[in-house]
């Protein structure tokens, strides 16, 4: 725990130092160095926790806060490792990413400060065990990420999506405040330790409290129907910030849900079904929308929603299995959930960083304008492809291992002899398979439109990015493969947080079956390498010729298949899920001058629920324009009227 505080102190020191440094490039270098050192300290502290168990640290901050307790247990340590490593890699990446901005003369002082503040506050959130302090650090985290989002504040859309993010975060905080308020009223304390008693006394109340917590933290995590901020805020933020937000920050929402579970214990059956079905819907909704996006980063944001759904499915199955007292199933499901939290933070960060690397060179996020980047930016392209394979949960990468665990929990949950469970589990299984295949559709589309084929417009790159960007990406890409091939060593540590909930002796069996999987995946890699070597040995003479145009030989790169066409068969199947708008201007006359065709897919939740509410809200509030009309005389009149009223009231009372 001491190391943990030293780590956070080093981060804060780094922020202060960066203020003193003049040269903006050195500023970034300063915070990178400090974040590496800080992250190392936090790693030491977390690993020590894994080995020797949890430890507490109590500050006395007077009567308002009571005793502020920080505790580094297995769950906190697990999240702290993810936060420390992923944030540091993103900060290192920002050295290269922000260079073009610095050359244009942009001031990055505040940006550096908020980067460190975001990292430090996330680290604070996962160890704080005092409700009031938790809320303060939580707000600090939301605010610093809000300011990071506003990096390109000159653009109007950036400001509007930033405000949207802020509004959603405040909505989330309202629910979290209710959650903590209910708990602390019952427990007469702000300390988490006293909260555990509430569930034991009153199960119905604990269930209600859990629902508040789930909604509050679910907004942060991006569960449908509270996801709307995510696809707006992530694409507008600079890539390392979106990587931090999507890879790490939304995980604090999951952390909150897990803590809420720990505090409120197992909710009632209907709540369990609610959590499970909401998660399934989240996964399906997220990936369906991801597959139709044009903007690479928006696609990745929707895919984050999908992965939150998968994590939620794991938690849901854990709850279901615990309700029916099947500890092995519960353990596998929860372990899969934790493993997916770790894996998602790795490959999502990798994908966001690669997307940023594309953006910096080509100045566009619209994949329909890209193409052929694999020839100019090979490392970025390979990183993106590897990230894509991992996120589609294909072997032998890490995504496969965590989804495998969740699938295994389904298959074992079929053992629970209950009709409802059978139906729900089959539904979840089919949905997860569907999510997997739509993910394949979505990522083959993105990869092939943006990176393969020929360049579609003048937005093309000449060379790959500087090393500081590629280093972070390569480390993450390697991590994807290593975690896929050695699951038994790495995911031993995801068992530790899972065992906070289930202390049964079945953990060892778990490792055994992970090592079988590891052997299978090694065999798979062996097969691939063997066959490639055979191919190399037997291959004949090769020659190069242009692509066959089916008899037509004036092909241009604009005639390639577009992303919108690629998804259109899928889009036609799930028509009612989307709101599609077409903007067509047909070519007319013998010598047509201009023609225009554009399709757009809007989020149905945004179009049919949020926008009408906002419209109504605006209409209602505009009625009060009479009061605030900018006329100073009238304001003085209001003041006088108020004073008079106060005087009359005072006289009447006396």
């Amino acid at each position: 725990m001491n190391f943990y505080f030293i780590g956070i102190a080093i981060l804060i020191l780094g922020a202060i130092f960066s203020l003193a440094v003049k040269n903006p490039n050195n500023k970034l270098k300063t915070i990178s160095v400090f974040s590496v050192i800080g992250a190392l300290n936090i790693l030491v502290a977390s690993i020590k926790t894994f080995i020797s168990g949890a430890n507490d640290f109590v500050f006395n901050l007077g009567s308002v806060f009571q005793n502020v307790r920080f505790s580094l247990d297995n769950i906190s340590a697990f999240f702290a490792i993810i936060i420390a490593v992923m944030s540091t890699l993103a900060i290192i990446y920002s050295n290269g990413y922000l260079k073009p901005y610095i050359e244009k003369g942009k001031n990055i002082t505040a940006h550096c400060l908020f980067l460190i503040m975001l990292m430090a506050s996330m680290l604070g959130v996962v160890v704080c065990q005092n409700a009031l302090m938790f809320l303060i650090i939580w707000e600090l985290m939301s605010l610093s990420s809000f300011f990071l989002c506003l990096f390109e504040y000159e653009q109007k859309e950036v400001i509007s999506s930033g405000i949207k993010y802020l509004v959603y975060m405040h909505l989330s905080v309202i629910f979290i405040i209710i959650f903590f308020a209910l708990l602390s009223i019952q427990a007469h304390s702000l300390d988490f330790n006293y909260f555990y008693g509430v569930a034991k006394e009153n199960i119905q109340l604990a269930n209600l409290i859990f629902i508040f917590g789930f909604i509050g933290f679910g907004i942060k995590a991006g569960f449908v129907p509270f996801h709307n901020w995510l696809p707006d805020a992530h694409p507008k933020a600079p890539s390392h910030v979106s990587a931090m937000m999507s890879g790490v920050m939304i995980k604090t929402g999951v952390y909150g849900i897990i803590r809420a579970l720990e505090i409120c214990s197992i909710p009632t059956l209907s709540t369990i079904y609610l959590v499970l079905i909401l998660s399934i819907i989240t996964a399906l909704y997220g990936i369906s929308y991801a597959s139709v996006q044009k903007d690479i980063k928006k696609m990745l944001a929707y895919s984050s929603i999908e992965n939150m759904g998968i994590i939620g499915i794991g938690i849901g199955v854990y709850l279901l299995a615990t309700h029916y007292e099947y500890p092995t199933v519960a353990l596998i499901a929860l372990c899969g959930s934790f493993a997916h939290i770790l894996n998602h933070s790795i490959f999502k960060e990798l994908l966001f960083l690669s997307a940023g690397s594309v953006y910096i060179k080509t100045h566009t996020k619209n994949m329909e304008l890209l193409g052929g980047l694999i020839k100019k930016m090979p490392i970025t392209a390979i990183c993106f492809i590897l990230g894509g394979i991992s996120i589609c949960a294909l072997p032998p990468f890490n995504g496969f291992v965590s989804e495998f665990l969740i699938y295994m929990s389904f298959i074992k949950a079929l053992d629970i002899s209950n009709f409802g469970v059978f139906i729900v589990i089959l539904f979840a299984l089919a949905s997860l398979a569907l999510v997997g295949t739509i993910a394949i559709l979505c990522f083959t589309k993105t990869i092939s439109i943006a990176f393969l084929g020929e360049s579609r417009s003048e937005h093309c790159a000449n060379e790959d990015n500087p090393k500081s960007m590629l280093v972070s990406m390569s480390i993450l890409a390697c991590a994807c493969l290593v975690l896929g091939l050695f699951p038994q060593y790495v995911f031993k540590y995801t068992l530790l947080p899972a065992r906070v909930f289930i202390d049964y002796g079945c953990a060892c069996k778990q490792i055994e079956f992970l090592s079988t999987i590891s052997k299978c995946l090694w065999a798979f890699v062996g097969l691939i390498i063997l066959f490639l070597l055979i191919k190399k040995a037997i291959s004949n003479k090769t020659s190069i010729y242009s692509t066959w145009g089916c008899g037509y030989n004036k092909l241009t790169s604009k005639m390639q298949y577009s992303g919108a066409s690629y998804t259109s068969p899928f889009l036609n199947i799930v028509k009612p899920l989307f709101k599609r708008t077409r903007d067509v201007k047909k070519a007319k006359g013998l010598f047509p001058t201009d023609a225009h065709y554009e399709t757009r897919v809007d989020d149905i939740e945004e179009t049919y629920i949020i926008n009408p509410i906002l419209k109504w809200d605006e209409k209602f509030l505009s009625k009060f324009e009479i009061i605030q009309n900018g006329d100073i005389q009238q304001y003085i009149r209001f003041g006088l009227a108020f004073l008079a009223l106060a005087l009359i009231v005072a006289i009447l009372i006396i």
Binding site: G372, L394, F422, A430, I438, L452, I528, W548, Y561
Partner: protein, 305 residues
């Protein structure tokens, strides 16, 4: 052990013979003599000797894709039950490894076909990707229902349906076979979904994805498509064959089922034309409905509702 080695040998040879037999059947219905059923093997050897031509738009991803595809098929087949209902590696979760290895093969072949920058191949890949989204969930529902029915959580549970459920089992088997057969037609790119003999690129699915492949690459890809067909046929065989058969009878019955499936496919290809593109989706959706029927039959058996 013998069974396992036999499985591998069957995996390498049977796909060719099945394709040969399908062609022979088509020739029979067309009143032609037709090529020998070993013709696909001769084609394979001929293609392996040829020089390759690659599109100028492609990179080494395109060159390594067929071999990765092949590795995926071989890896997936390690988990699929074949002769005697035994798979080479029998572990819990073999189903998932099987399905996801095939998923990787699809992922790689989609990327490879998109790499040629040809709009025809884009068309094919978009359809192929879309069909998979319909098939995969149905496949998982069928297999998981059968697992729940037999209370055996490995892929081999397919061979225990009759033993576990008596007369209702026959109904379950019929629907499950119908499901797997649709999957076979779609994955193996046969009529009425796709026509491997057509020359109209606009209406093709799997065949159009490999327009720019030739020689060794084409040989391997064609083998992979046939092998997928064989794998799914062997799932069907496992569903039908009872466990109690002795080795030779079981092997004979297995091969007989392979021959029967090839003849049925050949007959279908001779009897009907391929469907219109918009109807193919409806055809593939039939699989989902059938899968739900299997699930409800299993629920009926287990919970009596």
């Amino acid at each position: 052990m013998i069974v396992k080695i036999l499985n591998l040998i069957l995996l390498l040879i049977t796909p060719f013979l099945m394709v040969g037999l399908i062609r022979k059947t088509k020739a029979f219905w067309g009143a032609r003599k037709g090529a020998s059923i070993f013709q696909p093997i001769y084609d394979f050897i001929k293609l392996m000797k040829k020089d390759s031509i690659f599109s100028s738009s492609t990179t080494s991803l395109f060159k390594i894709a067929p071999m990765i595809n092949f590795a995926c098929i071989v890896f997936a087949s390690l988990f699929a039950p074949m002769v005697m209902g035994q798979s080479i590696i029998n572990i819990q979760g073999g189903l998932i490894l099987f399905a996801y290895a095939l998923g990787l093969s699809k992922f790689i072949s989609l990327l490879a076909s998109m790499e040629t920058a040809s709009s025809f191949e884009g068309m094919g890949s978009s359809r192929e990707a879309c069909f998979t989204t319909i098939i995969e969930p149905a496949f998982f529902i069928v297999i998981a229902s059968i697992m729940a029915l037999c209370k055996v959580y490995t892929f081999d549970s397919l061979n225990q349906v009759i033993a576990n459920s008596g007369s209702l089992g026959i109904l379950i088997i019929i629907f499950a076979i119908a499901c797997l057969f649709i999957m076979l037609v779609v994955e193996g790119a046969r009529v009425p979904v796709d026509d491997p003999a057509t020359h109209l690129e606009l209406t093709m699915i799997h065949e159009v994805m490999i327009l720019d492949n030739c020689s060794q690459e084409l040989a391997i890809i064609s083998y992979c498509a046939a092998a997928k067909m064989f794998l799914i046929s062997s799932l069907i065989a496992t569903l039908i064959l009872p466990l109690s058969l002795p080795f030779w009878a079981s092997l004979g019955a297995f091969l007989a089922i392979m021959i029967l499936i090839s003849i049925i496919i050949g007959t279908i290809e001779s009897a009907i034309a391929r469907l219109r593109m918009s109807h193919i989706f409806e055809f593939v959706f039939v699989m989902s409905s059938l899968a739900l029927v299997v699930a409800s039959l299993v629920a009926l058996k287990l919970y009596g509702v």
